[in-house]
Symmetry: C3
Subunit: 346 residues, 3 copies
């Protein structure tokens, strides 16, 4: 059970209600209609769920836990129905993890924003605040800024002059945003930095000359950005993060970068200036991508890689320098086998 | 000498007093009992220490500096006693660096916390503050939070609702903590982010579904966490940092990660979700570790590595992808030799 | 055109005025003196510049854009004069990007600092503020701190006791600085961390012993440091960033590091303790450099590298472990060719 000091369960639901709420695309059905009235009191991981709780199983690695779970109900793929222990009611679905995500959202919806402008917030008189906005103490809202309805600006965040932020956004504590236009339903976790100067210098003697950074950061709807990540504004064009993209903690995005829609960037990814990512690109943690390269739609990059060249749509690359991940792994394995076969001789 | 604008020396000590204060395990003895009453006025690096100062020598690389040091006293291994210059009194010890650390702590103890709640701090009336707590201006303490005795919350830090922080902690400026339980004597350097949502999404069309993150962050006693590092809360289980572990700056720790006791994570390490580190694991800077791998007790990982698989206890791995570090280095050296022997021909 | 919500153009200039303002070293001349009175209204990227705007061309990759640009004027190398389209007036220069940077600075100078101490800033009565200083709400200036003339401390930044900051600096929102001396004309972007403890421990049982960090951070004139970067103070010696060096976002610099003058460190570089960089060193993004190595003047390190050994002055290294970048690339290419030639056999 989630710690009630931090999480408030909104409801209990019967299995019938749960199946009914799920979108058709998830393909959820009860394995046994007799379970329709079973009351689920909470969600929980497979290993700790109890008889009144619902869990999910979607990774063979945890088959042992599934076979012995004490969960009262579980979402699983139809082909694993035979592995469920007695007493574990089944919701069959073609995407159990997505089904679980949506069910867990029903039990634990985002806390609603309680409107109010703390008297200790600093809000410029020319800023425009939508209905139901909440601004916590110590937040600083600059002249001309616009904050959309029901958006929450948490404590000590700093929103620069003329920045626009859409509706239903969650701007975390100690965030800074300048030179930016943000869409709706955006989540910025604490310490995010948006809109500062890009790293633009004409290098050389007698000293590097700073190039004024005259673009903005555009963040489209439904983007989420992790703690302490940084997105520089464009040098002339804008830096853009496309709709629905999810960015993890401590990610660096350089000026003029264009991130497509529904991309996934894991922790400590670094993307050099003017690089372009198509839609649905996924980049593993700690990977660096050079400036001015293009990553095609749906491409994946393994964690820990160093990308120096374009990657075609749909390809899966990895390694340093990055190439087709299978090729890279084969190269490294071949090298080891060759060295050992030779006993280190040439 | 340390800049008195920033550091206040607490005392002077004779060599006898120094040896007496050191724990037996360090095995400290004076090389010459006649030096017992020599007064050490300060500590300093080998290269700059003067006749009234004590330094240490524990790395052969600096043997030249040791032989010519002007230090009035020095901690060193017994086998290097013969290399000390005339006038440099010797404290012999089996771990000179640890001995030095403890001596330097005596000369420069942490400043005591001066109690007081700044009137410009924002402390919810339901928060509970222990005796001798200090809270600086602009800090924000949420409802139900508990702050242990003598803990210092620095300026503009944000402590979320119901968070608990133990005794004698130092919470740096501009830190944010939510959904977390922190033990005693913890140091969080400025800009640390603890407790925000883990990076949990059921990926796919039409858009990635956010998975509610229902766990916490548990930070055990005597942990230190570097500037701008981020630790996400668990998805269901907790994220845990074990007792005495030390985490450097700009480190990323994903949801559900379990860090054992007395681990060392250097700067810009990234650890993927649900990965488990045993006790006394050491990870070099800029290394990425995939999600859901296990690193055994006492294992070491070289800096700049990409870990994709489990590492057994006690092993030393490195490279991309990481493997036994000696094997990796041999592979790369063999490759170069082979290419050159062939003049690039196959 | 830059978004007027965020950027204010200071002037228009004729081509003659532009050439006149440029320093002799740039070697700027008009291709056609008849263009001297042409009025440039703004600067813009090659692809979007219109007939009243000036752009620049200095990278063959964009030759197509240059040939078809609608820009009224363009800075370019003399040898490309023949490629300019009709109607595009030419400023010829030996360093077009630097010329453009200086021209753009004329059109978009840094906003002047509007003096004033916000009543909601927390300024210790013993702090000393120069003429024309601006301190925004929520900023915290500790006892004994000194802030030079015309320096701007943005909202919620925290400046520790006895820190000195020079003239004409821009200290971004939510920055923290302690144990440091900063020169003139320094830019710290939001979330920078300067002066916290270095990562110094005498490791081992029963627990790692903290080594008091008794040095400072010295940042020389004209340094710029990117968002959320962290620079630890020295352990005994100081950590030093040399004049004119430019540091990107999310960079980690360990204790005792010495960065020379006019270095360039790209995003997410990590530099281990006591490492020394000469002048004009350039390090690509996401590269890690071990502790206690020396990188010679003018050396370059490719992005995504892992540096474990000294690099001689002027060398260009890369890869993991880093070596001469050409050698590394040849090694990796040879490996692939050899494996394929063998069909994976030994």
């Amino acid at each position: 059970m989630a710690d009630p000091a931090f999480f408030t369960r909104a409801c209990t639901l019967t299995l019938a209600e749960i199946v009914e709420r799920l979108p058709a695309a998830v393909g959820a059905v009860l394995a046994d209609q007799d379970d329709a009235h079973f009351v689920v009191e909470d969600v929980a991981p497979l290993s700790s769920a109890g008889p009144a709780e619902l869990s999910f199983f979607d990774n063979r690695k945890y088959l042992g836990q599934f076979r012995t779970t004490r969960a009262g109900a579980c979402v699983a793929l139809p082909r694993f129905a035979k592995d469920a222990p007695a007493g574990c009611r089944l919701v069959l679905a073609n995407d159990p993890y997505r089904a679980y995500a949506l069910i867990a959202q029903a039990f634990y919806p985002q806390d609603p924003v309680v409107p109010g402008i703390d008297i200790r917030a600093v809000v410029d008189e020319s800023a425009r605040l939508g209905e139901g906005v909440r601004i916590d103490a110590g937040a600083w809202i600059g002249p001309g800024a616009q904050i959309g309805a029901r958006t929450h600006i948490a404590a000590n965040a700093v929103i620069g002059a003329n920045v626009t932020i859409g509706r239903d956004c969650r701007i975390g504590a100690l965030v800074s945003v300048s030179h930016a236009r943000l869409g709706d339903r955006i989540i910025l976790h604490p310490g995010v930095r948006i809109g500062q100067d890009g790293f633009g210098f004409a290098m050389g003697l007698p000293s590097h000359a700073k190039v004024p950074q005259l673009g903005r950061v555009i963040v489209q709807d439904d983007v989420e950005i992790g703690a302490n990540s940084a997105i520089d504004r464009g040098a002339g064009p804008d830096t853009v993060v496309g709709e629905g993209s999810k960015i993890d903690n401590l990610v660096q995005i350089g000026h003029n970068v264009q991130i497509g829609r529904h991309c996934i960037l894991s922790g400590q990814v670094a993307i050099g200036g003017s690089t372009v990512l198509g839609d649905f690109v996924a980049v593993g943690g700690n990977t660096g991508i050079s400036n001015s390269v293009t990553i095609g739609t749906g491409a994946k990059v393994a964690g820990g890689s160093g990308v120096m060249r374009d990657i075609p749509a749909g390809a899966v690359h990895g390694g340093v320098p990055a190439k087709d991940i299978q090729e890279f792994m084969r190269d490294m394995a071949f090298l080891t086998r060759l060295r050992k076969a030779r006993g280190g001789d040439l």
